[in-house]
């Protein structure tokens, strides 16, 4: 028996228009002309959002020539770093957006879950929201009614089912929303990273439900950063980077190869100027990141408990912008792409004011508390409340067994974190 095709894509590409920062005039007359012509410029900018502009400097290809054939009953995991085009692919297959070129053929009823609780309304009760959300997801009233009792008991909020959801805690909302989605029974199920919500027992419940779905003979497309669940659930994994398929095959080998390339130790002195994947309006850019030890010696291997020093350089397109109120965020993520540490200067009441010559920030973690493994560094800069630049997973360092407590004996136990403790 030949297997039936559920999804087939032919050369799908998707182009997006990105915002480009306008250069600002520095004379009063220029400022006035600039002010008067703002509506015209705004109009051109807004119109270009839907028009097919050919100006390549203002566009980005989120997907390029994706050719895929997915058979019925396959459980396909899609992996890749942030901004690689995974979600765009799911959006195209869910009919939310159309490809710029190419086409996709879909055989069967599609149910997609890119967000939990789409259309939830605060003033409606839990029960009413089940019906609203269920019909948004593509069920009809009868199907929701048939599953109503199961949905309510799966959600675990049965006591509050006739209370408006605005009285719910965040966790309760998510549980209710996921419960509705869990009883969606399409032939093809498309799921974006939605399992990263709720507490761990609920996540287990969700993964169990996913497993049931997978075994019930439906076709599933599933984006996740959690490599463990990808490997246990999927029968096939596709790795996408910068809008292209890098590898497509059996879960273990694709995931391993992905982890190897993404989490190799980086250089100690990293030039950030030429990174293409970045967010923010670009008014300020990161130019360099240097990873060092306590003696300011460049290094990417640290023992647990060592001092980690970072030196971050920035540059502004506009003169004097570095002298504004800057907020720098530093995120450290583990191999599962989970943020394990997050820092920003505001919470330390440290104000950062730089200028074009003095453009470096020094950051230090005096005692590295992270367990053995590889960690990546992501940076964000905000100026006057607006996001100026973000670069993800730029530097990678390794944490190796060390003497966190300082008693001269290297720690041998494997644990994710280390901290001081008091015994009596």
């Amino acid at each position: 028996m030949t297997e039936k095709i559920a999804i087939q894509t032919k050369n799908i590409s998707k182009r997006y228009v990105i915002g480009t920062k306008n250069s600002k005039p520095n004379t009063l007359a220029g400022e006035i002309i600039n002010f008067i012509s703002t509506p015209i410029r705004n109009f051109k900018k807004l119109r270009s959002l839907s028009n097919n502009t050919t100006d390549n400097t203002k566009t980005i290809w989120a997907l390029q020539d994706i050719d895929l054939t997915i058979n019925e009953k396959e459980i396909v995991g899609i992996i890749g770093s942030n901004g690689s085009g995974k979600s765009t692919l799911l959006k195209i297959l869910s009919k939310i957006t159309i490809p710029t070129t190419g086409e996709a053929l879909i055989n069967g009823k599609v149910g997609s879950l890119l967000e939990v609780g789409t259309g939830f309304h605060d003033e409606l009760t839990g029960r009413e929201n089940i019906f609203l959300n269920g019909t948004i997801l593509g069920m009809n009233k009868k199907e929701v009614e048939e599953n109503l009792d199961k949905i309510i008991s799966f959600s675990g909020v049965s006591n509050f089912i006739d209370t408006p959801v605005k009285r719910y805690s965040n966790g309760m909302r998510v549980r209710l929303a996921f419960a509705v989605a869990a009883y969606l029974e399409p032939e093809i199920l498309i799921i974006d990273e939605v399992l990263a919500v709720g507490d761990s027992s609920f996540q287990k419940q969700c993964l169990g439900k996913m497993d049931d779905v997978a075994k019930s003979g439906r076709t599933v497309l599933f984006v996740s950063h959690n490599m463990e669940s990808i490997m246990t659930l999927c029968t096939r994994v596709i790795w996408i980077d910068e809008g292209k398929i890098i590898k497509d095959g059996d879960p273990v080998s694709v995931v391993n190869e992905y982890l190897e390339t993404t989490n190799t130790i980086s250089e100690t002195n990293i030039n950030l100027e030429n990174i293409n994947k970045r967010g923010g309006d670009g008014s300020i850019k990161f130019t360099n990141l240097t990873i060092m030890d306590k003696n300011q010696k460049e290094k990417t291997q640290f023992n647990i408990g060592d001092t980690l020093n970072l030196s971050i350089s920035l540059k502004a397109i506009e003169k004097g912008l570095l002298n504004s109120n800057l907020t720098i965020k530093i995120l450290i993520k583990n191999q599962n792409n989970t943020t394990v540490l997050s820092f920003n200067n505001e919470s330390y009441n440290h104000f950062i004011k730089l200028d074009d010559k003095n453009n470096k920030i020094q950051f230090s973690i005096p005692k590295l508390p992270l367990g053995q493994g590889l960690y990546s560094i992501s940076l964000e800069v905000w100026v006057n409340g607006g996001k100026a630049d973000t670069v993800g997973d730029v530097g990678v360092f390794e944490s190796t067994p060390g003497d966190f407590i300082g008693n001269g004996i290297p720690d041998q136990e494997h644990s994710l974190f280390h901290t001081n403790s008091v015994w009596s």
Binding site: S50, K95, I96, T101, G102, L105, E123, L124, I136
Partner: protein
């Protein structure tokens, strides 16, 4: 087998809307329930808006400005116009905001997006029905018997609904990309109100401006409502047909524009 590509051209997917009829029902329910949730008077607010305007108009235009109400009490003269007008104004406003107020339903899931302006119009239709009941009560109070002319209300209501839906659909499509629409709308509605015969009768407009005046679809509706309930005003079948042709043309253009633009909603919203 479904096909997804850049050059799909389907004008109006009626069958798809039918498949989602249960969603339409719950969207309307959400619209009505959320509007009157946590309020003491609840759905009573549907009555208060036109009644309040009636009182204000009666005092200012009826008593102070002494505007001619063609032989019927000014209160019912203005209320008869306010019932369709309130539906039109609120229907256009709600359907214009329907897409931008439900961004999540556009960017995170696929539903036939036309359901959003449709549900906004239906939601306001409930208010319209309640206001009509008040109008009937007022007719009894003033002992006015409309007679068979009242049947004109059916084609007029149809005209009213497709005018509001057509205009709302064009505006909501524009509003996804240009948020200016949202800010310009309230005073656009105000201007339209003063250029409709709500507080006055269209016989007060000089003859040479009558044609220009009649471009506004609400002129036929309002004058028609007065004619069928109160017997005042001038309306004939030709005027209704002309307005219907105009409104259906606008509706078809709006549906064409909506389906053509719908493909890029998720990218620009």
């Amino acid at each position: 087998m479904q096909k997804i590509s850049a050059n799909q051209n389907s004008f109006f997917k009626f069958k798809e809307l039918i498949n989602y009829k249960d969603l339409l029902y719950f969207l309307v329910l959400k619209d009505i329930k959320s509007r009157y949730a946590q309020s003491v008077i609840g759905i009573g607010w549907a009555i208060i808006q036109p009644v309040f305007f009636m009182v204000v108009f009666t005092i200012i235009f009826g008593r102070l400005a002494k505007i001619d109400s063609e032989g019927v009490p000014y209160a019912i003269f203005s209320f008869c116009a306010l019932v369709p007008w309130t539906f039109f104004a609120n229907g256009v406003t709600d359907s214009t905001n329907s897409l931008t107020a439900n961004i999540g339903m556009i960017t995170k899931i696929y539903i036939p997006r036309l359901l959003l302006p449709i549900s906004a119009i239906i939601g306001k239709g409930i208010d319209f029905l309640i206001a009509l009941i008040i109008l009937v009560i007022l007719l009894f109070y003033y002992q006015i018997n409309p007679g068979l002319k009242v049947l004109y209300v059916f084609p007029l209501t149809f005209l009213l609904i497709i005018s509001a839906f057509g205009i709302g659909t064009i505006l909501t499509t524009l509003a996804v990309q240009y948020r200016d629409i949202k800010y310009a709308l309230p005073f656009g509605i105000q201007i339209l109100m003063y250029s409709s015969p709500i507080a006055f009768s269209s016989s007060m407009i000089p003859d040479k401006y009558q044609t220009l005046f009649a471009i506004n679809p609400m002129v036929t509706v309002v004058e028609g409502f007065r004619y069928s309930f109160l017997g005042t005003g001038t309306i004939n079948t030709n005027m209704i047909i002309a307005s219907l042709v105009g409104a259906i043309t606008v509706l078809l253009i709006s549906l064409y524009y909506f389906t053509k633009t719908e493909k890029s909603f998720a990218d620009v919203a």
